[in-house]
Amino acid sequence: MKLGVVTFPGTCDDVDARLAVAKVAEPIALWHGDPDLHGVDGVVIPGGFSYGDYLRVGAIARFSPVMESVIAFAREGGPVLGICNGFQILCEAGLLPGALLPNKDLRFVCRQVDLEVQSTATPFTSTCEVGDRLSIPAKHRSGCYTGDVPSEQVVLRYAEGHNFNGSQDDIAGVANAQGNVMGLMPHPEHAVDLLTGGSADGLRLFEGMARVAVA
């Protein structure tokens, strides 16, 4: 079981994502300039500031050679998880509906938030029950979700009082219609170990990803 983690220039949370993946599978580092996915069973697009967030979040990274392969992989049903900047990139790439706007207060915020699971029809949330609450840190400046998204594709919402970015309908994470591609603004890879994460709730998303990827 191999899960790839993509690094773009400016990616920050790739190391973190590989540490998290290592708890459920073999992490494989993927490089933005290399279209070869090295036979991975799933792809994580991690957080950070690819291309400095310049022009528009995710806009430039979306055109990297690796993304062509990721798009093809996703269209064939391979599991793809976009976290924070990864979510923004998947939206820009058209793999997920909608877009991420600047937070309503125009500030970067780093805060532990509670999420509520809305759907278990994705590999990632297949380990959860609808209504489960996950405590996961969020940290971003452009996480205000907007888009035409059918409610069954909304996978995670911020619990009441936890939506600091102004996202439409408290949306924290969405999936594509097939459920194999998911993006979320909070960082599950920063909640896989009690020592540094404050919670290990994020691990469940990676466990779900590994479970389905192997099937």
């Binding site: 540490l19 500031f49 207060d105 970067f108 940290k139 994460g197």
Partner: protein, 742 residues
């Protein structure tokens, strides 16, 4: 062998120009001597004036810095390199340093603060260490001033912008508001990095014939004149003339530069590496050559420019950000350039290491500068200070915001909501404190940040870090105030169970040519040295920022102290919040009464600074720190919090808020209720835990059990007084900084 630069270069600008650039007439005469009687041309004058500025040459501080303790068993690299480094075991080292960006931040706070972070990060990875944390230390005028609020907001945004974008967590820091910083804010940033000791690299250029390569951003007119004019002259009201061109930070470029530098080093391609900071190429290249005792030849036409029409002197002094200089063997150049390409950074060979002691600057075939390297780097005159204790108070009395008639109830609420004590959450939430997955204690969870060094493999240790610098207490007593700052920093480490390994510092002072500032500086450095010796936490690096004076006089003397310590087991790292109902609460460490002198309460009451502070029994405090650290490491305490600004009751309230638990205290009879509750003194802690373990700790150090954790109120009884607050009320008070970040 000194060949004059070609005649075609412009005539010598002369002594008046030199004075305008910040040199004295005597210094100019010395420069002429360095050039064997020839007057410097434009390039040479620009380079000498920068390298001989206070900022680069430490003309007024070097002699004092030599008195600091710099050696110890853990020291891997001491002062003199881009950063200091300490051994954390198993062949690994942590590099760290604090640096100021005060004047650029006063001019353009967002970019000034951002590039301050960028600059200190480059110092860390110039050693081959991967940056793992940033801390910031900020000083502004009172937040009722619109200008102070603006500076705060933009500086914080700038630090966050740079640190967040580059993926280095900002794990701690401090912000203090005091009138004397109103027209001269302080923005100091500290960074830490982790490296295998054997992979660390120095900045000495060696190997005649080796190639000098510049990589990273292209060179523009950023900050020309910045180092000498901006950093060494007092800011007056009219900042306009000192805005040559603001340096703009590009954290994206730096993140590529960082990865590229570390990969170059891990592949063993470099002989030496150096960041470009103040005075740009001039300083970076001459220092590399001086350390390696070699000469250099550098061709300015090879330097990639952002603006085509730059003069050679502009190229040599530009402070464009995100650039590094390295030396490699000629047969490695192709490989170095290929790696630069991989990371999408520009790399260009611009010169060569030569025999001898000359720094020769070429424009193509033409020699446009030719100077002795040692003259540039080592021969700036050093000045003696003429310290004199002032006979009159230097600082205005702060405006009272709390009347003497206020009772204890009101006083605690006023203190918790005062700008210097209120929760920093609205500020630090703008920083990514968790990227890199090593943050074991986030801001407000403990007195020091704790970082797990998982890179070191199975059984890896953690480090703790903290930064402190109470300027008001140093203003009251430069010696004891500074000793207190150092002890406070070490106390923060003890709270999480860490033993100090080394210290860095940033000396932010006014004009050292004035006798009373010279006195502050001399006394502060003496206190810094004595305290670090007592703690066995040697100084491994630092920075000096002088001439911090505005229209209303000097800043409070502000020696900012940063410390790094080691803790073997992160799962036992202490936290400051009360954690268990029914735990006993104790005051640990004080063998005498605290004092209201220069305390936060006395500030709120609008009291003048006292002339001198009570002496500290440093040996006694060090013993307390040892005992508290041991107790934390044994996992015996549920919470630990050192008593700092605001005194005992504020510390208890903070432990209540952090743990979301109330407390009931009975302090018995107090000689003076105000002093007992709000007095300040080094070496005191509020701890909680099972009564028996507290009593065991009490066998080593003074300890009084005063109360119990529980409920949702803070209740105290002292002398005949009984008082209580709901946690909600305290929380609301403590949230007072929120409106500063709308």
């Amino acid at each position: 062998m000194s060949r004059s630069p070609d005649a075609s270069t412009t005539a010598p600008p002369g002594v008046e120009q030199a004075v305008a650039l910040g040199l004295t007439r005597d210094e100019y005469a010395l420069v002429v001597e360095e050039l064997d009687g020839r007057e410097p041309n434009e390039v040479e004058l620009a380079m000498f004036s920068l390298l001989w500025s206070e900022h680069c040459a430490y003309k007024h501080s070097k002699k004092l810095l030599r008195t600091l303790p710099t050696e110890g068993p853990a020291v891997v690299m001491g002062p003199g390199e881009n950063a200091g480094a300490v051994d954390v075991g198993d062949g690994w080292a942590v590099a760290f340093k604090v640096e100021s960006h005060n004047h650029p931040s006063a001019v353009e706070p967002f970019q000034g603060a951002a590039t301050g972070v960028g600059g200190i990060l480059r110092d860390i990875f110039a050693l081959g260490a991967r940056p793992i944390a940033v801390l910031d230390s900020l000083r502004f005028g009172e937040p009722d001033s619109e200008r102070s609020r603006y500076l705060l907001d933009r500086a914080v945004a700038g630090i966050g912008h740079y640190g967040n974008s580059i993926g280095v967590p900002t794990v701690g820091g401090e912000v203090v508001f005091e009138g004397p910083y109103e027209t001269n804010c302080l923005v100091n940033a500290m960074a830490l990095g982790l490296a295998r000791t054997e992979d660390m690299i120095r900045s000495a250029a060696t190997g005649v014939g080796n190639v000098l390569l510049l990589f990273g951003a292209s060179t523009g007119r950023d900050g020309i004149g910045g180092a000498s004019v901006l950093a060494s002259a007092e800011l007056d009201a009219e900042d306009e003339s000192k805005r040559p061109s603001v340096q703009v930070g590009d954290p994206f470029e730096e993140s590529k530069l960082l990865e590229c530098s570390l990969e170059l080093l891990s592949r063993g391609l470099l002989v030496a590496l150096q960041d470009l900071g103040a005075a740009g190429l001039t300083s970076a290249a001459s220092e590399m050559a001086a350390k390696g005792e070699v000469g250099l030849v550098l061709d300015v036409t090879k330097v990639p420019l952002r603006e085509a029409d730059m003069a050679p002197f502009e190229i040599m002094v530009s402070e464009s950000q995100e650039r590094m200089l390295c030396v490699c063997e000629p047969d490695k150049v192709a490989e170095v350039l290929a790696l630069c390409e991989k990371w999408e950074v520009n790399g260009t060979a611009i010169g060569e290491v030569t025999e001898g002691n000359r720094f020769r600057i070429l424009r193509g075939d033409e020699v446009v500068g030719d100077m002795p390297i040692t003259g540039l780097v080592d021969d700036a005159p050093l000045y003696d200070l003429a310290p004199m204790k002032p006979t009159e108070p230097l600082y205005p009395v702060p405006a009272a915001t709390l009347g003497f008639e206020a009772d204890v109830r009101e006083a605690l609420v006023a203190l918790l909501s005062s700008p210097n004590l209120a929760s920093r959450r609205p500020l630090f939430e703008q920083y990514d404190s968790i990227v890199q997955s090593r943050t074991v204690r986030r801001p407000e969870e403990a007195d020091a940040a704790v970082l797990y060094l998982y890179d070191m493999g199975e059984g890896a240790p953690s480090i703790a870090t903290s930064i402190d610098g109470n300027g008001r207490r140093v203003a009251a007593d430069p010696y004891w105030g500074t000793v207190g700052n150092v002890l406070e920093c070490a106390a923060n480490l003890a709270c999480v169970g860490a033993q100090p390994l080394g210290t860095t510092n940033n000396l932010n002072f006014g004009n050292p040519e004035k006798p009373h500032i010279a006195w502050q500086l001399t006394e502060a450095v003496r206190g810094l040295g004595d305290a670090c010796r007592a703690l066995e936490a040697p100084i491994v690096g630092g920075n000096v920022s002088l001439y911090n004076e505005g229209a209303d006089g000097p800043i409070y003397p502000t020696p900012v102290v940063g410390m790094v310590g080691l803790l073997p087991d992160a799962t036992r790292a202490g936290g400051l919040g009360f954690a268990r109902e029914g735990d006993a609460i104790a005051l640990v460490g004080w063998d005498g009464d605290p004092s209201l002198d220069a305390s936060e309460l006395s500030k709120l009451r609008g009291e003048a600074l006292p002339d001198g502070l009570p002496a500290i029994d440093v040996g006694q405090v060090v013993g307390v720190l040892d005992a508290v650290r041991d107790a934390v490491r044994d996992g015996e305490l549920s919470s630990v919090h050192d008593i700092a600004e605001g005194g005992f009751l504020v510390a208890v309230a903070e432990s209540c808020l952090a743990g979301g638990r109330g407390a009931a205290l009975d302090l018995g009879d107090a000689q003076d209720v105000w002093t007992t509750l709000f007095g300040e003194r080094s070496g005191g802690f509020v701890v909680s835990g099972p009564r028996e373990t507290l009593e065991r700790l009490g066998e080593r150090v003074p300890l009084d059990v005063f109360g119990t954790v529980g409920g949702d109120r803070l209740e105290i009884a002292v002398s005949s007084l009984g008082e209580s607050w709901s946690l909600d009320e305290l929380r609301t008070a403590s949230a007072a900084l929120g409106p500063l970040f709308p």
